[in-house]
């Protein structure tokens, strides 16, 4: 079936199997591999993107459901060669180590601040509950999100 999605501002149409998940559409058809896959139970959040402005795990959505939608992936955050303030905050606060959960974590963190621009430490921790990281112990991730919120 034909599925058209606007990804990072460019509309693309691909012929996909009906069972294709949005994450596979993004990675395999749109060839944007910044969005990672870390599980098969929608638990880890590594594949978090923005669909029509809201953070969503792209493994929980069929590509067909996103037909006609607007998706932003990690590749679509920077502007004029400058990283997004959240990306910068992660860099400045050592909010990543191996970097595998990072694209999803950054997308989720931006979604969190869209809903709650001045969260507390605890609200950040609860807000990122759906995104797992195995390297950082979350300490510097929380610090990064709080720093981005205070910019």
């Amino acid at each position: 079936m034909q599925v058209s999605i606007t990804i990072n501002g460019s509309t693309q149409t691909h012929d996909v199997e009906p069972r294709t998940l949005l994450v596979h559409y993004i990675r395999e058809h749109a060839q944007l591999t910044g969005t990672n896959i870390g599980c098969d139970t929608s638990s880890c959040g590594a594949c978090t993107i923005h669909l029509d402005g809201e953070a969503a795990k792209s493994c929980t959505i069929l590509a067909a459901q996103a037909d006609g939608g607007k998706v932003t992936t990690i590749e679509g955050l920077s502007r004029n060669g400058e990283m997004h303030p959240m990306q910068k905050a992660f860099m400045e606060n050592h909010g990543l180590q191996c970097g595998y959960c990072t694209p999803g974590m950054v997308m989720a963190a931006i979604g969190l601040l869209n809903e709650n621009p001045k969260p507390t430490d605890e609200e950040v921790r609860l807000g990122l509950e759906g995104n797992l990281c195995r390297c950082t112990g979350y300490h510097n991730i929380v610090k990064s999100v709080l720093a981005a919120a205070n910019k």
Binding site: Q87, P103, L126, G130, G137, H139
Partner: protein, 795 residues
Amino acid sequence: MSITQERTNSVIGQRMLRREDPALLTGEAKFTNDLAIPGALHLAVLRSPYAHARIKSIDVADARTMPGVVAIYTGKDLHSTWAAPMPCAWPVTPDMKNPAHFPLALDKVCYVGDGVAAVLATSETASRDALDAIDVIYEPLQAVTDLEVALSDKTIIHEAIGTNKSYTWNLKVEGTEGAVDAAFKSAAYTVSERYVQQRLLPMAMEPRAVAAVPQPFGGDITLYSATQVPHILKVMTAITLGIPEHQVRVVAPSVGGGFGSKLDVYAEELLCVALARKHGAPVRWVEERSENTQATIHGRGQIQFVELAADKNGKLTAVRVRLIGDMGAYLQLVTPGVPLLGAFLYAGVYDLPLAYDFSCTSVFTTMTPTDAYRGAGRPEATYAIEVAMDALARKMKVDPYELRKRNYIKKEQFPYTAFSGLTYDSGDHLAAAEKAMSHADYTNLRKKQATQNVAGARKRLGIGMTSYFEMCGLAPSRVLASLNYGAGGWESATVRVLPTSKVQVVTGTSPHGQGHETSWAMIAAEKLGIPPEDVDVLHSDTAIAPLGLDTYGSRSLAVGGVAIAGACDKVIDKARLIAAHQLECAAEDLEFAQGTFTVKGSPDKAVPIAAIAFAAFTAHNLPDGVEPNLEAQYTHDPKNFSWPFGTHICIVEVDTETGKVDVLKYIAVDDCGNQINPLIVEGQVHGGVVQGLAQALYEEAVYDEDGNLKTSNLAEYLVPAACDVPPITTDFTVTPSPTNQLGVKGIGEAGTIGSASTVMNAVIDALTGLGVTTLDMPASPNNVWKAIQAAQGGK
């Protein structure tokens, strides 16, 4: 360079942001499964649903006709492909039993997840769809999941070796014959404890992925893999498949965490290479998470019997340890060695006389093989001694910190030759502990606890501590030889000053989150007196960095980083000869600082290393006997392990009605000697602490009695999220290592080594008033509640 950190204009010691981050933060970084490989066939592996069964028949006829399927292989089909079984590099005893283990099972499967057949298809979905159409008839056999039952040999897993016991390894040190028994006989206090180190799933966020790209006419093959050990993998691939080693290139692209689980040689790596060669086409494989829980190694898996003897003041007089180690179904790369890595640490940071008796018996079970997982043997050992120390303190009715102070090896005793003959390089346990105590406000905290934990109180405060030693920086090659390890412990570095004075550092370490590119550039910049931005770090590709022993065991800085400093010294030595020639002076009359050679006493006679690099490149005017180009390779074989140490404190509140544990505060005071980049050091501690805390409170690989893994995905296996863990207070003391020129020690595993026992001591401490004296990990609400009920005896 001196080993103090009080120099000016120093690059080392700065909180430099990581150069790795922009690529990782923007999606530009390529992990193995991100690589575009045109024409690749996709491998999928059919896995056993039985823990223990004979394979009666495999029917692949239907699967072979499915769309996109190119070929299907069983273990028998591929048996002649293997020149050797899958490698175990650590035969810990001459009589160790190691059953032959091939990438696909032959007649029998020995754990749920054991590979049975391989499908090659034109897409990943086609390869996985075909798995369902393969018809395997199994004759199920008795699963063996209990270590003590396994030891009874009631059900033999590998008939060819006739027993489930792999080996027994002993370390007995006595000043005089019978010293341990005598110490226990005359002890004023003894404790005898049994602890279980539950199996853990490493759960690196990137599952494993492999791609093998052959050159059908040249015979060369490139193996891309999400591995920590490209160099070891290259050698082992060559040996296992009988390919000349120089025709194998291994590349580890961006790797999404490892924690030991990617320190291995896996069936899927060998299958991809074998099938790529057979088909003359690239073959790739990516692991699903629920496959990862079965097909990637597990960690821990030990039963520990620990006995301490102490005199009337609580001074330790002997330690006796008996372990049963769970090897799982087969021996992977270093499976049998994991308990040995802890074997020297069961006396912890304490001054013990020559009265130590350690023995480990390791046994096969019908579960996923175990292997090194963050800390590998050392968190287990630290847990045993530190939880047992608290048990001793309770028995003596002394404060657990007071008991530790009576036993710490003192600062002035370093370098300290331990009972084992190993030398602890440097340390100041009391200083680290005092710093941690001051963060905790320990005295007042104990008062608060006494006020809160009164009879009938629902929420109980608990305080736990651990003082640890980490034996890391693996490792002096001669020591590894004495432990029968199959390789050395050195690390290689090449430093190359390019004609334009930019520098390439080539390292044999293979990072997967540790920020080596940033830290290694800082070391070279410091040594050569140039900006770190001028240094590029090359790694993780055996064609670019042919020599190396990779990244594990907190070795990268203490061995690999020191190798870079050594290579810089050789570069400087060569540059000095050229500078002396140019300045027409004797080499020994030159001093080198801030990147410039200056004639002593004549500051106007100077030449920067940049000019020397260009002169070495043009080679127009070099002194006789000096080769063109400015490059040096250095291999560092450490003289000793490095011995980071520290004290951690955890404060918890336990709800005695629900069993829920809340961590109120976690304090980590660590000492890893000089720090290259404190930002990265803190990050390593944060992550390490949470991995140990997760063992204490959340994680456990649970098998049912039929050998099914019940926690087989991330919905069932509780990797903590941000809301499940506390902020971590980190602080440091700095006691440089005297055994390497940078004064550094490792830090990758320290957090994990110190934290599980710290959290468990806190939980048990909270419940002491209710009669709880022992508690198995994880301290889940269910386990805590049950322990309270048992201790209350139905009251």
